[in-house]
Symmetry: C2
Subunit: 351 residues, 2 copies
Amino acid sequence: MKNSRFLNALLRKPVDATPVWMMRQAGRYLPEYRATREKAGDFLTLCKTPELACEVTLQPLDRYALDAAILFSDILTIPDAMGLGLSVNEGIGPRFERPVKTEQDIKNLAVPDMEDELGYVMNAVRLIRSELNGRVPLIGFSGSPWTLATYMIEGGSSKDFRETKTLMYQQPDLLHQLLETVAHSVTDYLNAQIAAGVQAVMIFDTWGGVLTTRDYASFSLRYMQQIVDGLNKGNGDDRIPVILFTKGGGLWLEQMADTGCDALGLDWSIEIGEARKRVGDKVALQGNMDPAMLRAPNERIREEVKHILNSYGEGSGHIFNLGHGITPDIDPAKVEVYVDAVHEFSRRGCC
Amino acid sequence: MKNSRFLNALLRKPVDATPVWMMRQAGRYLPEYRATREKAGDFLTLCKTPELACEVTLQPLDRYALDAAILFSDILTIPDAMGLGLSVNEGIGPRFERPVKTEQDIKNLAVPDMEDELGYVMNAVRLIRSELNGRVPLIGFSGSPWTLATYMIEGGSSKDFRETKTLMYQQPDLLHQLLETVAHSVTDYLNAQIAAGVQAVMIFDTWGGVLTTRDYASFSLRYMQQIVDGLNKGNGDDRIPVILFTKGGGLWLEQMADTGCDALGLDWSIEIGEARKRVGDKVALQGNMDPAMLRAPNERIREEVKHILNSYGEGSGHIFNLGHGITPDIDPAKVEVYVDAVHEFSRRGCC
């Protein structure tokens, strides 16, 4: 590995500068992404064609001094492989043709075969690893069981998660049954990604924050715990670090750190220094600049990067990131200001 | 006052049972509300006609043993009075015909005259107080300056607050200027409501939770602090308690309590007992059942009410509420289960 900053920071080993990457770094803000997306015809074809997924995964690395690559894919590949019929309109969001509506629908769900039904993901991982050729580590990922369940039940994005919460409060055992199947699938999926070559994994719990503390523990965190326990993480220098990210989960960092994961992703609402005080040396922290800050003047972006680095403080264990994905309207030149500021200020800080 | 539980709990004086009310208790889940709304023709006419606003304010009190009434109105009355041209479609949400787009738009904003331009609100307050005739206290309210600013700038509801955050990061002084004008307006507005007869006030910061900790302090909390400082709160037994509610503000309870407000509204994400540990005896706490729980079987609703009461624990200072407004799909019979459970379990607890 030519650049191990990211993996070292995840394991809280010394680093020469704070590593940085961005959620959705391969995305619509980049003209070269839009060109590949155009060539693919639609978003899912882009995900399902390893050569194209590889192409867009590498694009941001050619522009910026990023310290990690993340597999280009969608969090809804698992329910799609379960037969729910995914379509993605980048303007409107994802839709399932056959959402989970009845008890029988839940009983019919089966863990997909990873090579037969999700082989395109593993092929993309193998191709990206080969093309990266040790430049930076490759991150694999999945949605959390709770987050996937909301899409499977609502049939798409939701404002109030009405159907999912109704099921949760009226027939909790049935929801648990669905979550069990999804948690097994996510475990197999991430293990298959690890076998194919990803060097770290991240679980995106985009919607855990809409739950009460009690419901978060039993309907979201419990299943992420099962996954953390079931991953083939390996040992020592080959250990595959696991990052948990619950958007809106700032109240639950201690419980998340107790799962045995290696790092927590933070959204922008919390001061990273406060988060560090709360979790101590248990885990590394990844985050957490507001993506909207990338619309600010350059000096303001640099001031914010410096503030977040200072808030985290001395020592390793910080991976710089945005608090959520970069949005399509951002000027690509701003990303360079952000990435370079992280390295500049953190290198100065440590030397 | 025949029933002072609500005011006593806000001031942490002894109560015979935990008081309870619901955000949006006068709302679309009630058939009698829908009938009055129909009669009014549109939502804003309902808000702007004191007799009709009074009628819907009282409707839930006739059905349920609620311990407080809340003025029926909309949080966007102030920007409407500023000339932005409000229309409200209950399905889609509010829209401003003339949102704030330019520096000149911000400079042109003026504090509305409370009797000339918002007299309909004060007339509704006077009429409701007279009709209530001391049955329960009447709560007045306003949106927070930050929350009002987001609607004024975006022109309506928003998913990512793009325009507001762009202004915040590109021209913070201009946003502060807007917030100053709105904060003065809110202070005058709540003082006019107090003069007209409301017995407690609540500030709804629906969108403070989308900010970073630093930005929350300078763009939202700072202006709520100005309002708390500027209210004619009175003294002793006539003191008008002030409730601050930031949805998604669970990380900032200590700072909110430091404003000198009397109570904090809590959304459902936090355990109320944890919140109490953090703020100690500084403020009362209002909340915090997930409104989706009102779709559960009766016994599950009762179990949740008991859990929240036990989590708060012994002693006064708890006002039971939902963590957000009740939704239109709720069966009115469920509300009775909820309200009665609060009284039943808290009376048993205290005697």
